[in-house]
């Protein structure tokens, strides 16, 4: 997979909506995903946003882990895509975080199967989607073969 990428891109860093300074919780952050180094960037951004929204250390870790898995899927299966992180407000004013993982990759032929527990979740090169679903409160996936996959997850602060 790595060989197919032009050297300039695999060596390249990452692009985020705001590289430095305070991150406004209300502003959606977009993280371009092109190489495995972006996995670490995405999950660190997610942890920072979760912390700023008042999530405790345990939830911060669960959110960061879910983002890590989703970003890894992009790198593994689509080579490139993006992660969008956004603060959200739900019913009764509860606060939460939304993570959107989007790619224009090959898509998933059998989404049902990919969501089944035990389907390549043994730590192999699996999609890890059932695990991501367990780590989050809301999970939505849209995938079209040849056009790409979008996974949206939400976690609410209790």
């Amino acid at each position: 997979m790595g060989e197919r990428q032009p050297a300039a891109e695999s060596a390249g860093g990452f692009a985020v909506s705001r590289r430095s300074g305070r991150v406004s919780p209300n502003e959606a952050q977009e993280i371009a995903v092109r190489a495995d180094a972006d996995i670490v960037v995405a999950r660190q951004r997610g942890r920072e946003l979760a912390a700023s929204l008042g999530f405790g250390p345990t939830d911060q870790t669960l959110i960061a882990t879910a983002i890590s898995e989703l970003t890894r899927n992009i790198v593994l299966y689509a080579q490139r895509g993006r992660i969008v992180l956004k603060a959200i407000v739900g019913q009764g004013g509860k606060r939460g975080i939304m993570v959107v993982a989007r790619d224009d990759g090959p898509g998933i032929p059998n989404v049902e199967q990919a969501l089944q527990s035990g389907f390549s979740t043994s730590g192999g090169l699996g999609l890890g989607l059932p695990g991501v679903r367990r780590l989050t409160d809301e999970f939505h996936i849209a995938s079209e073969v040849g056009h790409g996959t979008t996974v949206t997850v939400k976690k609410w602060n209790r």
Binding site: V40, P57, T61, T65, S68, E69, R72
Partner: protein
Amino acid sequence: MVVPILKQGPYLIATIPTALADADLQSLRDGLVAQVGRCRSRGVIVDITALDVMDSFAVRTVRDIAHMTRLRGAETVIVGMQPEVALSVVQLGLTLEGVHAALDLEEGLAFLDEKANAVRGGRPGG
């Protein structure tokens, strides 16, 4: 980022930093497997105290380290997993089958010492 591998008597100790890219974790795996031979090590300790996220790739690579070093004659112990990380690993449905774990570095070293003593004690005339 290169993870340094320290030699402590018959053991090797590697401390994983907070954020480690996939390629660096794989380099650590290869480094440990090679070093076990160069140093004739009997045990390996992978300290993950600082690691704040353990996803499927990290779990798989740590499992690979344990299995590969065992095939080279050294036992691997994972030490220092944070409670939140343990929860996320379990929720992800990942397992570290066949990998020894200990609370911290001290317990990990004690485990390896016990293991080494058991091996020596079990040898005829040893």
